[in-house]
């Protein structure tokens, strides 16, 4: 199987879906001539033209709002936000419009819309360019949240997302774009709402997604050296959320660490911890552990940023705390 970098896998998904359905188009900052800040849209404008691969002004709210309007008219737009930080500029369009319209209009409107953006920190981009805010959108009914960790997951889930009739926030990660992974040559789609056990193990479950899924796999490798077999479960989509796979794993291992790059306070990890104890309170051998970002704006200085953001070492320590 050929190996692709994450950004190449996303690019392939776009190219295939553009070729398959001429209602699909993309708009965003630098997506056309420049081929995307992270090379995700490279080659698309040359192949599909400047109307379907549309460079826009720096106006995130309108980028998302235009995509909503076009989706309402039956197109299948993809709004690219250069980073998740700018989703905050477009918050009214994402939360007050895309997420609300189908329900408040009594189901008469269909919004086949994908909003793509990379989130995350870890490269010293400081407070305004390091957001990991997927939990904000999971807290908002009416929009799906897809957050793949590997090139394989990214391609299969993006193709499904583009074909979906619902608004989807598709969150990539700046630090994942250059990671490599096997991607089949033949076409495939991955369903939303299906978690993957990325590494089996019997002693503890680590639930992690996006970049933290890779950190969890590193931690699991380190733990194997200590004689601890950790199972890594990546939900891959946070809405819909495959609780069954998570609960099945935790029911077996009886211990769980949830690792996320977002802030700890009222984060996705808190929701998962609550749901796990609701279902498995009497099956747990230890308190649910959370590994998450420090509740501060992400600092610039390299040492402080490392302290602020979780990593494999932090996950390793959290596992040891409840397994030794």
């Amino acid at each position: 199987m050929p190996e692709l970098r994450y950004f190449e896998a996303v690019n392939q998904a776009l190219e295939e879906e553009f070729a398959r359905d001429d209602r699909v188009f993309i708009l965003g900052e630098d997506v056309g001539l420049a081929g995307g800040t992270f090379r995700v849209t490279e080659g698309l404008m040359a192949e599909f033209g400047s109307r379907r691969v549309r460079d826009t002004p720096i106006a995130e709210a309108a980028i998302v709002g235009i995509a909503i309007g076009a989706a309402m008219a039956g197109m299948r737009p993809i709004a690219e936000l250069m980073t998740m930080n700018f989703a905050i500029v477009a918050m009214d369009q994402i939360v007050n419009h895309a997420s609300k319209m189908r329900y408040m209009f009594g189901g008469k409107v269909t919004l086949p819309l994908v909003i793509r953006a990379p989130g995350g920190g870890g490269t010293q981009k400081a407070a305004q360019h390091s957001h990991c805010i997927e939990s904000w959108f999971v807290n908002t009914p009416g929009i799906r949240v897809v957050i793949p960790a590997t090139p394989y997951d990214a391609k299969g889930l993006l193709k499904t997302s583009i074909r979906s009739d619902d608004p989807i926030l598709f969150i990539e990660h700046e630090m994942l774009y250059s990671t490599r992974g096997e991607v089949p040559e033949e076409e495939y789609l991955l369903p939303l709402g299906v978690a993957e056990v990325k590494r089996p193990g019997r002693d503890i479950t680590i639930v992690a997604w996006s970049r933290m899924a890779l950190e969890a796999l590193k931690a699991a490798e380190m733990l194997a050296g200590e004689g601890i077999e950790a199972e890594v479960v990546d939900p891959r989509t946070l809405d819909p959320l495959d609780m069954d796979t998570i609960l099945t794993s935790v029911a077996r291992t009886r211990r769980v660490v949830i690792a996320e790059e977002g802030w700890r306070n009222v984060g996705m990890g808190a929701e998962l911890a609550a749901r796990i104890q609701e279902h498995l309170f009497y099956d747990l051998d230890a308190p649910v552990q959370r590994v998450a970002a420090a509740d501060v704006p992400t600092p610039y200085a390299r040492n402080l940023e490392r302290l602020a953001l979780p990593d494999a070492d932090r996950i390793f320590e959290a596992v040891l705390k409840v397994t030794l």
């Binding site: 106006a59 309007g69 408040m104 009594g106 009914p141 979906s164």
Partner: protein, 323 residues
């Protein structure tokens, strides 16, 4: 171009319908049948009536939270709209939207939106779809004077012109953003001149004269449909009631209101029609007809069922995943 007499009679009937509908809403609100925020269009009837009458049935219309008139002019039934206001299952949005969120895509009414200016990028997106599919369609986006100070207004104007999209920004300038006078909220209170900043034509029309609105819009719709790019129209009008049902409107003087009411679009057109030889009895018959439409809608709404409890979780997504 002159508006034919038959069309003028239709304009009269439609303005009368809106006025009577809104009076019915006011009564039902006072009786507790309608809750939440409800914004009446009384006084502004000439704007939606004249503007939408210049469109084809399959041109897109998108509006603000003051959207009752626009849905009526797209010929959504008064029953479905009143039932929506009463929060009933038979409402146009199954009782889930209410006053500010009418929506009837089968009639190309693409919805009422309650974040000031928030729907303007959606209008641009509708127009982008029209352009990409080479359709013979225009988009008419209604907005208030207050929206012209919002960020997305400017983003939308810029992008609409940048790509020469077939969209008409129709500003219903009633001079007040809730309680704040346009003169203290906009650096530039000649709102139609804001179009110039984007190289877009901007026109002003008297919004208390339905024939003038119709004629101005016919010209503009022709221009936009021809592919000449977007246009902004400012229609100057006045809402007789407060911003919403809960607003007594103390920030405006009686003298100011009286001045505008002298230009009331309905008697104004009635006088004009009678001058053209229309029998006043015919106008009275129109008033009785629209009164019956509204009474029927109120009876229908009151006798309609509330949404089933199961509806709470319905219509969130197209695809469900069992979780």
């Amino acid at each position: 171009m002159a508006v034919p007499l038959a069309d003028q009679l239709q304009l009269y009937r439609n303005m009368a319908l809106i006025r009577r509908f809104e009076e019915g809403v006011s009564e039902a609100y006072a009786e507790g049948f309608i809750g939440g925020f409800t914004h009446l269009y009384i006084g502004q009837e000439a704007v939606a009536t004249g503007a939408i009458s210049a469109l084809n049935h399959d041109d897109y219309v998108i509006a603000t939270y003051r959207d009752h008139a626009h849905a009526l002019m797209r010929e959504t039934s008064a029953r479905a709209l009143m039932a929506e206001l009463y929060g009933r299952a038979t409402g146009v949005c199954k009782g889930k939207g209410g006053s500010m969120h009418f929506h009837d895509p089968e009639r190309y009414f693409m919805g009422g939106y309650a974040i000031v200016g928030g729907h303007l990028p959606l209008a641009v997106g509708l127009a982008m779809a029209v352009q990409m599919r080479n359709e013979d369609r225009v988009v008419m986006a209604f907005l208030g004077d207050g929206a012209s100070n919002q960020g997305v207004f400017h983003e939308s104007m810029n992008m609409a012109k940048l790509w020469e999209l077939p969209v008409i920004f129709l500003v219903e300038n009633n001079f007040y953003g809730i309680a704040t006078d346009v003169r203290v909220s906009s650096s530039f209170n000649e709102i139609h001149r804001k179009a110039q900043g984007y190289g877009m034509p901007g026109h002003v029309v008297g919004g208390m004269d339905v024939v003038a609105v119709r004629e101005a819009c016919e010209e503009v719709v022709k221009y936009v449909r021809h592919g000449s790019g977007p246009v902004l129209i400012e229609a100057r009008c006045y809402r007789y009631q407060g911003h919403s049902m809960t607003d007594p409107g103390r920030y405006r003087s009686q003298a100011e209101a009286d001045l505008w009411k002298k230009r009331d679009p309905i008697p104004r057109l009635a006088k004009h029609l009678i001058q053209q030889g229309v029998d006043p009895a015919r106008l009275e018959a129109i008033q009785s007809e629209v009164n019956e439409v509204v009474q029927d809608a109120m009876r229908f709404a009151e006798s309609s069922p509330e949404p089933r409890p199961e509806a709470l979780y319905e219509d969130l997504f197209v695809e469900s995943y069992g979780a």
